[in-house]
């Protein structure tokens, strides 16, 4: 059971969910129930993903004997807190509103774009920088 492939798979799921939500909102094709469901699933996935990263990835990096890995872990962990806060605030803010209002809301779209942009950058950074460092210094076969 390897951590990085699972995290990468979850990245794919997260990005696909964001894309689906955005397409549904922009195209106006998505129904109320589907959008709420997708938002909820995305939130759950994101929370679980962040939790897994926090507990397994960052903790492993923090225990690393390599200073470089330790520092990188700390840096990404802090950054992750900021991104998590933005994302979870977004979910908290909009999941309770009526979909019809959400779809009309320019603010929702703007904030969705912001979250997607932040998450995308973060995912790319993790997959290109963080995960290779983890695989090098800390990966253990479970």
């Amino acid at each position: 059971m390897k951590l990085i492939p699972q995290l990468k798979q979850e990245h794919v799921e997260i990005m696909r969910s964001f894309a689906s939500i955005k397409e549904g909102v922009v195209g106006g094709k998505v129904g109320d129930a589907d959008l709420i469901k997708e938002l909820r699933e995305l939130k759950n996935t994101l929370v679980a993903h962040l939790d897994l990263e926090d507990k397994m990835l960052y903790s492993a990096l923090a225990k690393s004997e390599t200073v470089e890995a330790k520092e990188l872990g700390e840096k990404y962990s802090v950054e992750m807190l900021g991104i998590s806060k933005i994302a979870l605030t977004f979910f908290e803010k909009y999941m309770s509103d009526a979909i019809a209002d959400l779809l009309k809301s320019a603010e929702f779209r703007k904030e969705l774009d912001g979250v997607i942009s932040a998450v995308t950058k973060r995912v790319e950074a993790e997959e290109t920088i963080l995960y290779p460092v983890y695989e090098k210094c800390c990966e253990v076969s479970i």
Partner: protein, 913 residues
């Protein structure tokens, strides 16, 4: 239809009327011939009586020679007879029972004929009589006869006068027309049969055609075509009949012309015969004249000429005798009573030579230097000693005038120029008022004619035809008149055909009448045709319009447009059919709605279930990761083993749920694509690299073969997903040390990808169903490799969502290649792809349709056979088709179509044995 029968009846009436007109016309011609015969024989009798003025009635009754003249044939069975006007006794008759009987006695016995004769018997002075009457022949058939009675001007020495009767059956003169009548009756019966057949055909078509028509015929609108074809056939038949009628009318006219010419020829022969009799009778008078003989013996040419002139003039005036010769025994012409100045020339004519040779009377027509003449030559004896020859002659232009009579016919005699001397002829023609010139014609000259006209039919070609016994030649126009032009050969005393007699019958009226009849026929046919076309169009439209409407509606239904309805208001079975169709469409519409609802419910169920199942999976796996990573504390070996089992099964469960989610997305057209510009080669290399680490124990060699690919807009994740799935399978089903090759190349407007392994291969049957969800190609292997059974279905869904195609080529124990295509332009408007329904049913249906298409109704049975034997695989079907072509049951062309259809369904890959 009333018009139709009207025209049919009109055509029949026309045929019979035309036939009757033809018969009538020729009846008239036959009666004229009989009349002419009476006149001719009367003339002979008059000459005889004139020459034998001392003979009493009793003498004549005892004279065999007179008997032969008085009783002659008329037609084939008729005859002439003589009745003494003063006594009413039939003194000369072929039947000895009747001969000598009284007219009054026979009148009671045969009132029909004797009523006709009455007017002649009772007339004073004597008047001719004639009439038609019916007579029972020897075979007991009633036939029409004609009789003519002519008063003879001459009388016997005891002052009795005669009238001659000539009678016979009319049909003896119109055999040809009778033949035509027969043809008309055959034609009439044929027309009747054809129309009865057509009527039956139409009736059956009308009554049962609709029931028998297959859906294919209805679909292509062939009913109206068939109807129009039938109308077309009727149209053609009517035109053929019309043309035949015109043709036979023409034949009647031509036969009439031929008959006329035959009559002229017969008249000519009769005249020749009677003239010979006349000349012989006159010659007998000369030979009996002892005084003239004494004068001749004196050898005084002048005296003989003077002595003979009164007799010659008398004969010339009364009997048109134009030549009178006394010829010496040496053949030298002693005296020409008709031309005092010419004598001393040597006579070499056939008639003279014959008389000289036989010592008896010789006669015949002979061409002189300028004209034809009938000549009779007799040896001249004195007390049994030959003293010379006497010759009497008559120019045949008199014949022409007699034959011409008052009828609308003209006669011309043509002779080859080389038989004549131009100078002599020109002199003769000038002296005799002949208006034709030597150069009127090429090769021939008109030596005698009743008219000066030179018709176009007087050609060398036609002369040759006549010399070969063709009597009717053609119609010839002169100014506004039309002549039936024909003729007969003129046979001279030597038996040679030295010239021809052209007979020109003025048929202007008949010809014009025939033209009018043609106009009437074709006008009627044209009008009828137009009516037929309008009726045909109307009926065809009325029949086919609702069928076409039904067909179009059925086509729409076939395209799942179940809202389609028809509006047929014909008030017949078609309207009932329309109602039934609408009702069926309504039911189908309801079923379609239900089906769609079920589909939607299924998709939603799948989607919701999958989502609901999928949602907890990420946290579960995260927790398992944490447990396994001993985040929550150290684990002993048993705990680790247990956790490992849970993790592996969770992973598998997650895979299944993810696959279900993908299936549900594909079916709902909600599969997400993230298109970005990039090089697909990179994706291929990544997957190949990824596969290297998969099942390292097998030591599978992964190779790539990538052609020059363009940078395109595509979803690298999806492409990777497809390639990964196929490559995964390839690795899984390969043996240790095998090779797996991933290839990509540009093919026109798409990129062709392939993944090839050296595995066990896939059977033809499995290939068809391999892309179905949960289809397990090889149960044991499937179980061994723990697949979800959805991978290839998802591959198909992804590829087809981008308008690509995926197929397989496999050979047992050699390996398998999966191909798929990716269009260069991405498809953003995703369509739903049905994956969960069995594809086999669709394939079977396609094969069945193909069987029906190529083999017709037989195809359904053949397909059922294959289905029953479970042989619906590519190999069996291709082999079957090749066998059909080999046996000639299917043409090579159709065989190729059939084969291409099968390969289109199964793919063109090699077949599993």
């Amino acid at each position: 239809m009333k018009n139709f029968w009207f025209v049919v009846i009109a055509i029949f009436l026309f045929g019979f009327v035309s036939s009757a007109i033809g018969s009538e016309s020729l009846s008239s011609s036959a009666s004229d011939s009989i009349t002419q015969r009476a006149f001719d024989i009367s003339k002979q009798i008059e000459i005889y009586l004139s020459s034998n003025s001392d003979m009493t009635l009793e003498d004549l009754k005892n004279s065999e020679e007179f008997g032969d003249i008085a009783v002659q044939t008329v037609g084939y069975t008729g005859y002439t007879y003589l009745i003494v006007k003063e006594t009413g006794i039939l003194e000369f008759h072929p039947d000895s029972d009747i001969r000598g009987g009284s007219y009054n006695n026979f009148k009671n016995e045969f009132p029909v004929i004797w009523n006709i004769i009455d007017s002649t018997v009772e007339s004073e002075p004597c008047e001719d009589s004639s009439g038609f009457y019916e007579w029972r022949d020897l075979e007991n058939n009633i036939r029409e006869k004609y009789t003519y009675h002519h008063c003879i001007e001459a009388q016997t020495a005891d002052r009795y006068t005669f009238f001659i009767g000539a009678s016979t059956y009319l049909d003896e003169y119109d055999e040809v027309v009778s033949g035509n009548d027969y043809l008309f009756y055959i034609l009439g019966v044929s027309i009747l049969i054809i129309f009865v057949l057509l009527f039956v055909l139409l009736f059956n078509f009308w009554k049962g055609g609709g029931e028998n028509a297959s859906s294919g015929e209805v679909a292509s609108g062939k009913i109206s075509h068939k109807f129009m074809v039938i109308l077309g056939i009727i149209f053609i038949i009517i035109f053929i009949i019309g043309s035949l009628i015109v043709y036979f009318q023409n034949q009647v006219l031509e036969n009439q012309a031929a008959t006329n010419i035959n009559e002229v020829q017969k008249d000519f022969a009769d005249l020749e015969e009677s003239s010979i009799r006349t000349l012989s009778a006159a010659l007998e008078v000369v030979l009996q004249d002892d005084e003239m003989k004494q004068v001749y013996l004196e050898k005084d040419r002048k005296k003989l000429f003077d002595y003979g002139q009164p007799l010659f003039q008398n004969l010339k005036d009364k009997y048109d005798i134009t030549h009178f010769y006394f010829i010496e025994t040496s053949g030298v012409n002693f005296v020409r009573l008709h031309n005092e100045k010419v004598f001393g020339d040597k006579i070499n004519r056939i008639t003279f030579l014959e008389a000289k040779e036989t010592g008896a009377i010789a006669s015949g027509i002979e061409l002189g230097k300028t004209a034809y003449a009938l000549r009779v030559v007799s040896p001249y004896y004195d007390n049994g000693e030959l003293i010379g020859y006497v010759e009497l002659g008559q120019e045949i232009n008199q014949f022409l005038d007699i034959i011409r009579g008052e009828e609308n016919k003209e006669l011309s005699v043509l002779v080859k120029k080389n038989f004549l001397d131009e100078e002599s002829w020109s002199e003769y023609s000038e002296n005799n008022g002949i208006r034709n010139n030597w150069n009127d014609l090429d090769g021939y000259v008109i030596i005698d004619a009743t008219s000066e006209e030179v018709l176009p039919c007087f050609s060398s070609e036609n002369v040759n035809l006549i010399l070969n016994d063709a009597n009717f030649i053609d119609y010839s126009n002169l100014d506004s008149e039309t002549f039936a032009c024909g003729g007969f050969p003129l046979i001279d005393a030597s038996g040679k055909k030295s010239g021809v007699v052209f007979s020109l019958n003025d048929v202007t009226e008949q010809y014009e009448a025939m033209g009018k009849i043609r106009m009437v026929i074709f006008s009627i046919l044209t009008i009828f045709s137009m009516i037929l076309i309008f009726i045909g169009l109307y009926v065809a439209r009325k029949i086919s319009r609702p069928i076409v409407e039904l067909n179009l509606a059925a086509e729409k239904i076939g395209k799942k447009n179940f809202k389609t309805r028809v509006n047929i208001r014909t008030g017949d079975e078609l309207e009932v059919l329309g109602h039934t169709f609408n009702e069926t469409a309504r039911v189908l519409d309801g079923m379609d709605k239900e089906h769609k609802q079920l589909e939607k419910a299924k998709t939603e169920f799948l989607s919701i279930t999958s989502h609901e199942l999928r949602s907890p999976m990420t946290p579960m796996q995260a927790q398992l990761q944490m447990l396994a990573g001993e985040y929550y504390g150290k684990l002993n070996v048993k705990q680790k083993n247990s956790l490992d089992i849970v993790a592996r099964n969770t992973k598998r469960l997650d895979s299944i749920i993810v696959d279900f989610l993908e299936i549900s997305r594909i079916e709902a057209a909600r599969l997400k694509f993230r298109f970005a510009k990039g090089d697909p080669a990179k994706c291929v290399r990544n997957i190949a690299s990824e596969m290297v680490g998969l099942m390292p124990e097998k030591k599978i060699k992964i190779t790539t073969k990538i052609g020059k690919l363009p940078v395109i807009e595509y979803d690298s994740d999806r492409l990777g997903q497809v390639l990964r799935n196929l490559a995964n399978n390839a690795v899984k089903f390969s043996k240790a040390g095998d090779k797996v090759s991933i290839a990509a190349s540009l093919k026109g407007s798409f990129i062709l990808f392939s993944v090839t392994d050296q595995g066990i291969g896939i059977s033809a049957e499995d290939q068809i169903r391999l892309f179905e969800p949960f289809y397990q190609a090889e149960q044991t292997i499937y179980r061994e490799h723990q697949g979800t059974g959805l991978g290839l279905a998802i591959v198909r869904g992804i590829v087809e969502s981008q308008n690509g195609k995926v197929w397989i080529e496999s050979k047992k124990d050699v390996g398998t290649t999966f191909y798929f295509t990716l269009p260069l332009k991405p498809v953003r408007n995703i369509r739903p792809i049905k994956l969960l329904f069995s594809k086999k049913e669709g394939i079977d249906k396609k094969i069945k349709n193909l069987f029906s298409e190529v083999l017709g109704p037989m195809g359904t049975q053949e397909f059922a056979g294959f289905e029953q034997k479970k042989q619906l695989n590519k190999k069996s079907l291709i082999s079957y088709i090749e066998n059909l072509v080999k046996k000639g049951i299917v043409t090579e062309e159709n065989g190729e179509v059939f084969k291409a259809g099968i390969l289109g369904i199964f793919g063109r890959g090699e077949m599993k044995k």
